[in-house]
Symmetry: C2
Subunit: 243 residues, 2 copies
């Protein structure tokens, strides 16, 4: 088994660059951390290389490289990393199909993005479509918040207006979410097929996109509160349609 | 109006220490950032001092001090802070009363804690009881995630077993949450009065506490996913009981 001791090794230096989106996009690869993420990634066919400190952690399939804890610390982005790092290829181009769609319009917080992907898998959404101006789906915090769910449903970067037109053409009803007006969630029919659009944490769903949706949903809350967290609001709606 | 130009001013140095729990607990004070948080804090009666860069931002009630942007940057913990910082007193001792209670057993992520407090206000929970081993309720990330909701409902640090016994004695039904077994959420009666216990992100609700609850709830999810994020799961249940 190959061994790398030095954090200054050229291959390790190259991997460390994958912490930045610019280099990820060039190499079309991203890093994952921890036993659970590696386990979820193994069946995706995208896991190329695994860096471990001990042969006990060998993973079947990808290349395994034994490294020092120093190397793990250099590559990991969490504060107290588990001693395993994976290198994955980007997801291939995939078709937007299925019955249930989550459309994310300029979501900026990686925790929100990852949590929404996790909930989307939980409530049987087929595709999560992420607008180009959203936070990167390969961001380490976003990946961590998915808890590996990102390897088990389609997450696709695409223009939302185009996507909405396509979904309408195949008969999918499109729901936007805004606290101002629209239909209260609890009065809606529970649809098997739907597309749900969630907006930016500060400004919500953008006007042009909201106008192209079929209906606006709001969740009834205490008037002492302005709005729910976007990952919470989206998850409640996905739960509702799935229940 | 008082003015402070230097980050080395003794008063500013003392305030900067409030970034650490140890010093917060000594002074029984905490810092908040940004216009929205200050606005939400003003009606609480806990806001003592406001630090601003421009007289246009003067807040009625607390002492206002004009400071430099350097002082704001020293005290703020967000990357691109708005130019306003507040100093608040700790919440006073408060009674656990009302109809709806959220009990948090060793929640570690400040974002989850803050998001749960925000949702609790949204779904008309009266008290959030936080176990002593949970993340600090005055942590800056937790405060930010509440979006100010923390000033509008009771958030109380207390032992959970004692609290559960007290709540049972006044006739409140206690629900724990665990993905293994129990009653599916969608089959439950929508209770006006309840207490909901949520557990640690990794290990869930601790055994002793789970055993003291009346009933376990689970949210039906896709079997491809192990569990939902705790703030999402808690918010869905609070939504359900309030809908």
């Amino acid at each position: 088994m190959r061994k790398i001791d030095s954090v200054n090794n050229q291959f390790i230096k190259k991997l460390a660059k994958l912490q930045l989106k610019k280099y990820r996009d060039q190499a079309k690869k991203f890093l994952i951390e921890g036993y659970h993420m590696i386990e979820e990634a193994t069946q995706s066919g995208l896991l190329e290389t695994v860096l471990i400190c001990d042969e006990i952690d060998v993973v079947d399939g990808p290349e395994n490289i034994i490294v020092t804890e120093g190397v793990i610390e250099k590559l990991a982005q969490s504060k107290t990393p588990q001693k395993i790092i994976g290198v994955c290829r980007y997801f291939p181009q995939r078709l937007i199909d299925g019955q249930r769609f989550l459309l994310l319009d300029d979501i900026q917080d990686p925790g929100n993005l990852g949590t929404l992907i996790r909930s989307a898998l939980g409530f049987k959404v087929d595709c999560v479509i992420v607008s180009p101006d959203s936070v990167d789906i390969y961001n380490d915090k976003a990946l961590r918040a998915t808890q590996g769910a990102i390897f088990k449903l389609k997450v696709i970067n695409a223009e939302l207006l185009k996507t909405i037109n396509h979904l309408k053409s195949i008969g999918i009803r499109i729901y936007s979410t805004s606290p101002d007006g629209g239909t209260p969630l609890s009065t809606l029919a529970k649809e098997k097929a739907y597309a749900l659009v969630l907006g930016n944490e500060s400004r919500g769903v953008s006007k042009r996109i909201e106008e192209s949706c079929n209906r606006n949903i709001y969740i009834e809350i205490n008037n002492k509160l302005d709005s729910l967290n976007v990952a919470v609001a989206g998850s409640i709606i996905m739960y509702y349609f799935n229940s």
